[in-house]
C-alpha cells in the first residue's frame, strides 16, 4: 500500500462521521452555495462606475506607496516612462514582448533585456527596472494581477528593484471576485504555472513592526494605465 493510500485510508476512516455544521440552520440558510459566491456582498464596497474604480485604485495605490498614473494616450505613457527613467537614473531595463511593451519601451532609448526565451539570471539581476504587462488591476485592493504568461515569466516582476506595469483601461476590474472570474475565463483549463496578486511594492515589518520597502523584491511599483 502506498503512503497516499494509507493517508487517504485514514482520512476516509475519520470522515465516516461528519463533524457538526459550524453554523446554525438560520445562518447557513443565508449563505449562497458555494458560500464564497457571495463574497462581493461582504468585501469592502467598490462602487459601480469606472471612475469609482479608478479613484479607489489610486487611493489604494497611494496607501500602499505604489505609483499610479492614468494616461490618455500611448504617447503620454511613453513620456511618463521617460520621465521615470530620468528621475530614477535607469541605465538598463528588462521587459518581455507584448503589445504595450513593444509599442512603449523603445521610447526609453536604452538597452532592454528580454525574458521571452530562456535567459541568464545574472543579466536580469543587473537591470534597473522590469517592465511587464498584466492581466488585471483590482480596484478593491489596489492589486496588480499578472501571470508567468502575461508578464514575461516568474522573475521579471520580482527581481529588478523597480517594477513598472503597463496596463489598459479595460483591465481595471472592480473587485477580487471579478479578477477570479476573469482568470477562469481567460485561461480555462490551461493556466500558466504562476499567477501572482501583487499589492504594493515589496515590504517588511519584521524589525519592530516598522514598515520598510524593498525587502527582497522591488522597492518601487509603478502602474501606468492607458
Amino acid at each position: 500500500m502506498t503512503e497516499r493510500e494509507k493517508i487517504l485510508g485514514r482520512i476516509r476512516e475519520a470522515l465516516k462521521v461528519k463533524a457538526p455544521q459550524p453554523l446554525t440552520p438560520d445562518e447557513a440558510a443565508e449563505l449562497p452555495q458555494p458560500p464564497a459566491a457571495g463574497a462581493r456582498r461582504w468585501l469592502p464596497p467598490v462602487g459601480d462606475q469606472f471612475r469609482d474604480w479608478v479613484e479607489l485604485f489610486s487611493r489604494n495605490a497611494a496607501d500602499l506607496k505604489a505609483e499610479f498614473h492614468l494616461v490618455s494616450s500611448s504617447d503620454e505613457m511613453r513620456e511618463e516612462l521617460v520621465r521615470l527613467r530620468d528621475a530614477e537614473g535607469w541605465k538598463r531595463g528588462a521587459c518581455h514582448s507584448g503589445l504595450l511593451p513593444d509599442a512603449i519601451c523603445p521610447a526609453l532609448g536604452m538597452p532592454m533585456f528580454k525574458t521571452d526565451k530562456f535567459y541568464d539570471i545574472h543579466a536580469l539581476e543587473g537591470c534597473d527596472v522590469g517592465i511587464t504587462e498584466c492581466d488585471a488591476l483590482i480596484a478593491q485592493t489596489g492589486t496588480v494581477m499578472l501571470t508567468s504568461r502575461s508578464a514575461g515569466g516568474r522573475a521579471l516582476s520580482i527581481l529588478p528593484p523597480h517594477h513598472v506595469v503597463l496596463a489598459r483601461r479595460d483591465q481595471l476590474v472592480p473587485d477580487l471576485p471579478s479578477a477570479f472570474e476573469l482568470l477562469k475565463m481567460e485561461y480555462k483549463d490551461n493556466f500558466p504555472s504562476m499567477i501572482s496578486f501583487i499589492t504594493g511594492p515589496s515590504r517588511t515589518g519584521d524589525i519592530e513592526r516598522i514598515l520598510v520597502l524593498g525587502a527582497h523584491g522591488p522597492r518601487k511599483l509603478t502602474v501606468l494605465c492607458v
Partner: protein
Amino acid sequence: MTSRARKFLKDARRVTADLRHRQIIHAALHNYEAARDRRKAAFADWLTARQAAAATKWEAINYLDENLTAFADKLAARGAKVHWASTDRQARDIILQIIQDKAARCIVKSKAMTAEEIHLNEALERAGLEVVESDLGEFIVQLRREAPYHIVFPSMHLTRGEIKDLFQSKLGSAPSDNPEELTMVARRVLREKFINAEIGITGANFAIAETGMISITENEGNARLTAALPRTLITLLGIEKILPRLEDLALFLPMLATAGAGQPMSGYNTLYGGPRQPDESDGPVEFHVVLLDNQRTRLLADTEQRDALHCIRCGACLNVCPIFRHVGGHTYGTTYSGPIGSVITPSLRGLQDWKHLSSASSLCGACTEACPVKIDLHHHLLHNRRNAIAKRLSYLEQFAYDVFTAIVNHPVLWSLGKKAGRLLQPLHRSIQGGPLDPLRSWTRTRDLPPLAKPSFREWWRKRK
C-alpha cells in the same frame, strides 16, 4: 506534573515578570490592533464573511479525501511530483532524497511553519547542507539559532538594537540600528544566496482542489524569488490547507491579511500550478509537493475538534491572547503557540505531555472572537482539559477529587468542613502564600477570600 509542564511554568513566570519583554510585545501589537480594526470595518459585512469562510473550510475538511485527490491529480497532470508523508520523518527523508539526487548544496527557504514542525533545517544541516531562511524575520531568528517567536511575526520579540548587534557579529556588517538599513543588509546577503541557490523550499497557505494549485501569501517577495530562481522547487504543506475552489481565495486572501496583519491584502499572493511549462522562459524545472499528515488525521478523527483543522494560521488568536502576550511565544515550547497551538498540540504530539497548555488560558474567549474561520478555540481548550482527565489522573489528584466529592455529597460533612474551615482560616492567614502554606501553588499569586459568615445557608434559614 510532567517536566514539560514544569518548564512551561518556570519560563512563564520568568517572562511574565520581564517588563521589557512585555513592553516590546505591547508596542508591536498596539499598531496591529488599530490597523486590523480599520480593515475589518472596511468590509461591507465581516461577520457574514466569517461565516462563509467557516462553511467553506467545513466543506474542504469534511470532504478532505475528494479534495486532496483532486488537488494531487490536477497538480501531477501539470508535471509536478506529488509526495505523501505520514510522518515528520518521512517528509524529511523525501526532501533530503530530492536534494541529494541533485547533488545540491545551496538551498534557500521561504517561511514555512510546517518545516519548523518537522525540524527540517536541523535535518538538512546534519546532512551537511546549507539552508538559508529568506524571510527577514526567519533569517534573524535563524542567525540567533532560535525558533520563531510567533507564527506570523517570527522576530517580534527583538529590538532593532539587538538585531544590529546580531548582524554585526554574524554578518560583520551593521551600519546603524535603522530598520531600513538593517533590512538592506539582509537583502544584499540574501540576494546573493538567491542567485546561487539550486533548491528552493517553501510552505503554502492554501491548496486549491479545483485547479491543483498552491497559494503562498507573503509581503517581502522572498517566496516569489524562491519559486522563480532555483532549478528545483519543493513545497511542503499540511493536508488541511485545502480549499475547494479557486474563487474561494477572493474571500480568504483579504480575510487572511486583515485578521493576520491588518492589511487589505498581503503584498504577494501567488498561485503555483506546476513547474515551468513548455511556453515559459523561467521557473523551476522540477516542482515537488510534499503533503504532510503528521497526526492531522488523528485530529480529523475527533469530530468535536475537527474544526481546528480549519485554521489558516493567520496568528490573530495569538495577537489577542492575554496569556500569549504575557508568557511569550517561546514559553510554549511548541511550533504552533498561542490558543491554536494549545488546542492542536495535544492532538499532534500527545495529550499527556501537552495538556498543561490547555490550562494556560483565562477562557476569556478573545481567541474565538478573533478567529476569521470561527474556530471555537476556548471551548476546545476545555475539551482538552476534560479529555486529559478522562485519560488519566495522578493518584494524588484523584484522592483530592474523591475527598472533595465525598464532602460535597454529604451535608453533614459539608457543614463540618465549613466550620473547620472558618476555625482554621485565621491560622492559615498567617502563613498564606508563604513556604509553609500547603495551598501555596494557589495562594502564592492569588487571594483566598475569607469564608463568609454567616454562610448562605445560615443566612437563608434565618431569613425564613
